[in-house]
Structures are given as C-alpha cells and as structure tokens.
C-alpha cells in the first residue's frame, strides 16, 4: 500500500480527533514547563487543516504545503511554527508526486527534523520534539512495509520519551526551569507522540 491524498485525508481525521482528545493533557504538560498553550496550538492547527481537507489537491507537495500554512495561521507559538516548518520541508521534497511508498517515511521525517532544527536553532539532545522526530527517522530507516513502519514509529516516540524523561531541558521556555525539568516529559515530545500514534492508526 502507498501514501496518497486519500490516506492523508483519513489521517487528518484521526489527527484531529487525537488532538482534541489530548487537548487538556498537552495544555497541562505545557503549563508545568511553559505557557500552557500547547493543547490549544495543536488542536487549533489540526482544526484548520480539517477545514481544508475537501479542497486538498492530489499533488502531495501542494497538500502538505497547505497543511503547513494552516499551522502558520493558527498561532505564533513555537510548536505551530515548527510543525509548519517540518511540513514545508516535506512538501518541497514531494512536489509533483501523488503517491509514495512507506519506505520514504524515514527520509521525510529526517528532512522535517533538519528543517525544524535549522528554524529553532537548537541541537538534538535538548529534550524537544526534535528528539522524537530523530527517533522516528532512525527507527523507520530501511523499513518498507506500512505496518512495520507504523509500529516502529509508534514505538520510537515512546522510547524517546523514556530516554529523555530524566534529562534536563535546555531549549525553549522549559530551559528556564532548569533542574526542575528532570523527571518531567517535554510537552512537545508528548505532542509528537499524539501525532505519530494517530498517523500510525
């Protein structure tokens, strides 16, 4: 099976539902280490994407570009901008394609990760959404079966949370909390778990 417009439309419905479901959880997690708006940012962004689902073109590049724009509109919070950045990077790579195989997931995730890293001027290992993406890119490398990719990605976001839980945040608002962040999950990594699990279906 391959990833096309129809698969994306179906995924958007799952993403939107998951974002609304985790609204409070993400706001609370961000409230503990930041300004408490991450649930709002994610759900609002997904809502805006859901609104344009019917008009999405077959060209996957254009489709992802429109999804990116929805995120740039939603708010000025970091996560929305990073998501838009990642989506735009993938959009550029997919320009003109209407269907791709699951073995491209790793490469595309890595592209998003790198673009977001450049945008946020942050290193890997800082306990951010970048570390979740990095884990996904690595875990899905070399896989070309859709179910295997989904399973690996899903496992990777959990593993990333476990791996970073007891480290100290050094980036974004959470940095100001210093040692207090040890033992706490990064809100952006939690949000990426929500996203990846919804995509995995």
């Amino acid at each position: 099976m391959s990833i096309d417009r129809q698969a994306i439309v179906a995924a958007i419905a799952r993403l939107n539902a998951a974002a609304q479901r985790d609204f409070e959880m993400l706001n609370d997690a961000d409230g503990a280490l930041g300004d408490g708006d991450l649930g709002i940012t994610l759900s609002r962004g997904m809502e805006l994407i859901a609104e344009i689902t019917d008009d999405l073109p077959d060209d996957l590049g254009k489709t992802l570009l429109q999804c990116a724009q929805a995120f740039t509109k939603s708010s000025g919070s970091s996560y929305g901008t990073l998501m838009a950045t990642g989506l735009m990077a993938m959009a550029k790579a997919l320009k003109g394609e209407i269907s791709i195989a699951p073995d491209r997931v790793s490469e595309l995730t890595a592209l998003a990760r790198d673009a977001m890293q450049a945008r946020g001027k942050a290193d890997l290992g800082g306990k951010t959404v970048l570390d979740s993406l990095d884990a996904v890119a690595q875990a899905t490398a070399g896989q070309n079966d859709e179910a295997a990719v989904a399973k690996a990605a899903s496992q990777a976001v959990d593993d990333a949370l476990d791996a970073f839980r007891n480290t100290q945040a050094t980036i974004g608002r959470a940095r100001m909390f210093g040692e207090k962040t040890i033992g706490m999950d990064d809100p952006g990594m939690l949000a990426m778990r929500t996203i990846v699990k919804a995509l995995a279906g």
């Binding site: 708006d37 000025g76 970091s78 950045t85 945008r119």
Partner: protein, 333 residues
C-alpha cells in the same frame, strides 16, 4: 487580577480597536486577523520598510512606534506571545514598497522562528528582507554570549535611528546597517519591584516580597541577576549603572543618550529621582548626554520597576536620533 478589561481573550483585539479608533491619523489595522498595525497612510514607493513584532502588553512597544520616521508596520501577538508567521508576513507585505523590508525586533525564540518563517513566506512574493535583532539586556547573558541576550527597551533607539534613515531615503543595506549599529551600541538593565498579570493567565507573572527587588529581571518576569532587599534609589541606580558601564566602557569625549524607562506602574517622579544618579554616573566617565529619555517607552502593563538603556552615539546616530518622528506616543522635531 485587578484590571479594567472585558473577556481576557478579547484584551488584545479590544486594545487595538481602541488604539486605532483614538488615533486614526496614525494607525490602521491591516490583514484578516486584525493583528497587523500599519501607518494610517501608505508610504511612498521605493521607501525601505521597517517591520517589528512581538507579544502585546508592552505599549508603546510595539504598535505604538508605527509612524513617520519610525516603523511602517507591526505584527502583534497575544500578551507576551509571538504573533504568527502569517501575521508577520502580512506586516512585511504592507510595509514593502519595492525597496525591501528590515525586520527589527527583540531576541526571543518564538519571535525569531516566526519572523524567519515569515521571511520564507514572502520570499515567494519577491519581498527582500533583512534582520536586526535587539539583544541589549546585559542581565540575560554574558558579554561573550551577547547574541543570546534578550531584547528590551534598546529597541526604541533602533526604531528611531533606522526609521529616520529609511525616511531619509536610504536603501535597505544602509538602513539595516544603521539598525545594527544602534543595536550594538545599546546596553540595558532592569529592576523589578512588582509583577504584572497576563489577562488570560489571570495570575501575576512572579511573586516578590514587599521589601524585595530583583535586579536584571526580564520584561516578562524572566529571572534576573540577583534578588535582594529593596535599597535606596541612589544605590539601585548605582548598581545598575555599574553593570552597564562594565559592559560598555565610556570615556571622555563619548556621547550617549540614556533612557530611564518605567516598566509601567512606576511613576515619573521616581524616574526623575533615579535620573540624578544616572546623569552623575555618566558624566563622571567624561561622557556627555544627548537627548535623555525619561518616561514610559517600553513597558509590561502594570509591572512595577524601571530599566536603564545607554546608547552610545556617533555623529550619524546623533543626527538620526534628533531627526523628526511622529507617532501617538512620541514626537521629535
């Protein structure tokens, strides 16, 4: 939270509605989200645009400084939150008169990400952009890591000089250079006595005892250099001037402008009490003071405290500083 407002969620939009209703000769709203403030009248084709942006709650920063000899447009977010990249892109669009746009704003992670993204968005529309970041708060990082410093009241000097250069018809490279020179010449430090409340948060940004102050605290309540007992005004002013003069030495023949700025609730009476010491310390270095600014130039709503900014001048900056400018909050010339 003791504030005069309606629904907290409407705080920013209602502020902008009142601002543009009271001063239609200076400001108009632009774009569908109502979060871009532009000059009331279009500037001439070929003038370099200057755009700023950031969170609400700092009037006159940011929107207030849109005006002749100052800024062309501003994207404004929720209180203490970055506007979206799309809103910034709209500000860049309205400011562009074919000669490019300078993005001139404070060094905060969210704002930087969004302004960069906004640049990518308008790149498709052939709008040329440059960037100058204000990073003038000496309390927020060491001199070695200067690029990590937060931007505070020093941005007002950069708005003024770059604004004057753009108004005089200088090109994007020249206007950008003026802004960068001004940003490099500014050093600021604050002291906080009491917090403010972000309307949608509903509780004070920090707590501080009745007899305490925090030197170096940021304008959103970011941790400062030291918290201690509230000292006499002259001692506080001396400690703050020590930090500023350590960071940028002054000597005989130097010229500076200095800003003694209220963070909001602190009244002008106290600013003038402080100014005595600020003036004495600057003059003791042999430097001379040009156009001191004492008042509320960059605030955090009802926060109590002050900031000092020293801006070192050369002939060019001095001339640009005294060039005419006009907005609802500040007029020169």
């Amino acid at each position: 939270m003791k504030k005069l407002l309606n629904e907290p969620v409407d705080y920013v939009d209602e502020t902008l509605a009142g601002l543009t209703a009271a001063h239609p000769e200076y400001y108009r709203l632009y774009g569908d989200t109502g979060r871009v403030v532009a000059r009331a009248t279009e500037t001439a084709e070929g003038k370099v645009g200057i755009v700023t942006g950031g969170g609400s709650g700092h009037l006159p920063v940011f929107t207030g400084y849109v005006g002749k000899g100052l800024l062309d447009a501003c994207a404004i977010g929720d209180v203490f939150a970055s506007p979206s990249a799309e809103q910034m892109a709209d500000a860049l669009r309205v400011a562009d008169r074919g000669a490019g746009v300078l993005r001139l704003y404070g060094n905060y992670g969210g704002d930087v990400m969004n302004f960069d993204m906004a640049g990518d968005l308008v790149d498709f529309e052939d709008i040329q952009c440059t960037t100058v970041l204000l990073a003038d708060d000496v309390a927020s990082a060491s001199l070695e890591e200067r690029e990590k410093r937060r931007g505070v009241a020093g941005m007002v000097y950069a708005f003024k000089t770059a604004g004057a250069a753009a108004e005089a018809g200088q090109d994007l490279t020249a206007v950008t250079a003026v802004a960068q020179k001004t940003a490099d010449a500014c050093r600021s430090i604050g002291v906080a006595l009491g917090p403010c409340t972000v309307p949608q948060a509903g509780k004070p940004t920090f707590t501080i005892a009745d007899d305490e102050m925090e030197i170096g605290m940021g304008i959103h309540g970011e941790p400062g250099m030291r918290r201690g007992k509230l000292l006499p005004a002259d001692d506080i002013a001396n400690e703050m001037m020590d930090r500023l003069l350590e960071d940028q030495a002054l000597s005989s023949g130097d010229r500076v402008s200095v800003m003694v700025n209220s963070l909001g609730a602190t009244p002008p009476e106290e600013l003038y009490i402080l100014y005595r010491t600020v003036q004495a310390r600057l003059e003791a270095t042999g430097a001379s003071i040009f156009m001191p600014l004492v008042g509320r130039y960059a605030t955090s709503m009802e926060m109590s405290g002050v900031s000092f900014t020293v801006c070192k001048l050369d002939d060019e900056l001095e001339a640009l500083l005294q060039a005419p400018c006009d907005c609802a909050f500040w007029r020169v010339g």
